[in-house]
């Protein structure tokens, strides 16, 4: 019997959509029983949201002052304590899950599948390697507990039509205090979240300055889109690090992706391959972005963008 525990990602009392996508992935394993663990200092609000996800049987509320911030070193021993009842442990392949799950796996003495993008049975997974330039199908040894992070761009969010039971669980493990949260910088804006936005406008090095990058924000606002950036634009200081799309940034799958002044290095393309429609605006007709774009427009962004604003 497949029993899956999903570690919820959340912040400020809200369940992150990445958790819903992880539930969808888990639900593809036929006959799997799915539980969600919510680690927090106060977990009730998030537990209530998690209990509404279709396919979830139980939500475990694990409350402790030490869980006020998602520190991998603090969470990991507690997750290990819960793990004995489960065959699989999943978390989203966001920075939250990428930080945490290998630590959990090593404490359990097992390996991990990173970035599962498809499931072909309880122990067969497909994942990207080489920046998404190859896909590997892996069979996991069924005798071991299976730890995996789930590539959120590959799954739809689970519906909120469920009605799981909520149980409080206490932890006996000694939690380390060698790692302490200090601060978090957060950009506050009303724009759609890059990882879940249906439309994304992204800018590259060709913008030329942080000031010019505002053109990207303007177009995004007009389209109700999230904003992304290439590594070159982030390295140059035009855009914040959390906007980076690609192998080492965010992997996204919007309905519409508009790449402005982005040449399309393979590391960037891996982050957008799952987008439904890719539009490229670039003055270099040889730019590799045109190899993956559904619609290409060769032209200078500084004249194309004002025109585009007029016609939208």
């Amino acid at each position: 019997m497949t029993r899956i525990l999903i570690i919820a990602e959340h912040a400020h009392g809200k369940l992150n959509i990445s958790t819903r996508k992880t539930v969808s992935c888990a639900a593809q394993i036929i006959g799997a029983e799915i539980d969600i663990a919510v680690f927090a200092d106060q977990a009730s609000d998030v537990a209530t949201q998690a209990a509404q996800l279709a396919g979830v049987k139980r939500v475990l509320k694990v409350e402790h002052p030490a869980f006020a911030h998602a520190l991998a070193a603090t969470y990991a021993p507690a997750i290990v304590e819960l793990a004995s009842n489960y065959t699989h442990l999943f978390a989203p392949s966001t920075t939250f899950g990428k930080d945490l799950m290998p630590r959990v796996a090593a404490l359990l003495g097992v390996g991990q599948i990173s970035d599962a993008m498809a499931i072909e049975g309880s122990h067969r997974f497909v994942r990207p390697i080489y920046a998404g330039n190859a896909m590997v199908t892996l069979d996991a040894e069924p005798g071991h507990k299976l730890v995996a992070t789930i590539r959120t761009a590959s799954f739809q969010p689970a519906a909120t039509t469920g009605n799981a039971s909520i149980e409080s669980v206490s932890i006996a493990a000694t939690l380390p205090n060698h790692t302490r949260f200090i601060s978090h910088s957060e950009e506050h804006n009303d724009r759609p979240d890059l990882q879940s936005a249906a439309r994304v406008v992204a800018g590259g090095r060709a913008l030329g300055s942080a000031e010019n990058f505002n053109l990207i924000y303007q177009l995004a606002d007009q389209l109700g889109a999230g904003v992304g950036a290439s590594r070159a634009a982030v390295d140059a200081g035009y855009a914040a690090n959390e906007l980076q799309v690609g192998q080492t940034g965010k992997i996204i799958a919007p309905d519409l992706y508009i790449a402005v002044g982005i040449s399309g290095a393979i590391q960037h393309l891996t982050g957008i391959k799952d987008a439904r429609t890719i539009v490229a605006i670039n003055k270099d007709p040889e730019a590799p972005i045109f190899d993956v774009a559904d619609i290409g427009l060769v032209g200078d962004l500084f004249s194309v963008l004002p025109e585009l604003a007029k016609h939208l």
Binding site: D99, A105, A106, N133, A134, D139, H184, I278, G299, K310
Partner: protein, 249 residues
């Protein structure tokens, strides 16, 4: 005496367009340029800078792989590492095995910091640093873009999905590097010559007394599905019209 251990991996060079073997058993690596994993190069640079600032007294660079891995270790020595450790093994290993092997080195050297890349650009697993921290029972700071060590307080700023997070760590600890931590230096020819004289210690993975983890079996490696070739439009007006036809606007 505070040491820093830097774990590096030999990988297909960043600029190589990889090809999948026709039989689906893996990636073509014969005759392909190999380099230090770029994130590990950043780790090396950070360690060398910490030594230059007097925070560390010695930088040790370690790697697991076939004989040719010594090429990358020599580059690490040329960048400024003091000595190298080569753990020889000819076939691919899982990250948990790598973490167990590096733990053996950690137990031997007792470093103040272990620094490594946040992921290797070949298998993109992003696991080894965290696993080593877990087995060592020490703190970890993953995806670090800023590392401050002053008056025995160590703070790492991490690139997380919703911004930047700063955490404080007791040492010893494991740091995994993100892209913006630093820009690695270029190695000059005289350093490459000098590096040939620096010590390189050899271990055989099979003789280190660890169990190799063999939990995953590759069934098949395939190229990603290709996207269909798109169309070119001549101006913004035509672009908007086409987007409307496609139903995305």
């Amino acid at each position: 005496m505070s040491k820093i251990l830097v774990c590096i991996k030999r990988v297909v060079d960043y600029n190589v367009r990889i090809r999948v073997k026709p039989d689906g058993s893996g990636i073509i690596t014969d005759g392909v340029k190999m380099s230090i994993n770029p994130f590990d190069e950043i780790a090396l640079e950070e360690a060398i800078r910490l030594k230059e600032r007097g925070i560390a007294s010695e930088v040790i660079v370690a790697s697991i792989g076939p004989t040719e891995t010594q090429q990358q270790l020599r580059v690490g020595l040329a960048m400024g590492a003091d000595r190298a450790i080569h753990i020889q093994h000819d076939t691919a290993i899982e990250p948990l095995t790598a973490a167990k092997a590096f733990l053996k080195i950690v137990e031997q050297e007792a470093p103040l910091l272990v620094i490594t890349g946040k992921q290797a650009i070949d298998d993109d697993n992003a696991q080894t640093g965290q696993m080593l921290a877990a087995l060592w029972n020490r703190p970890q700071a993953c995806f670090t873009s800023k590392l401050e060590i002053t008056n025995n307080i160590t703070r790492a700023t991490r690139e997380v999905d919703d911004g930047l997070e700063t955490i404080e760590l007791d040492l010893p600890a494991v740091i995994t590097c993100d892209l913006r931590l630093n820009e690695p230096r270029y190695v000059k020819l005289p350093e490459i010559m000098k590096a040939k004289k620096k010590p390189l210690e050899l271990f055989m993975l099979n003789d280190m007394g660890i169990t190799l983890n063999q939990q995953f079996k590759t069934v098949n490696v395939a190229p990603p599905p290709a996207r269909q070739k798109g169309v070119l439009v001549k101006d913004a007006k035509e672009l908007v019209e086409l987007l409307k036809v496609k139903g995305v606007l």
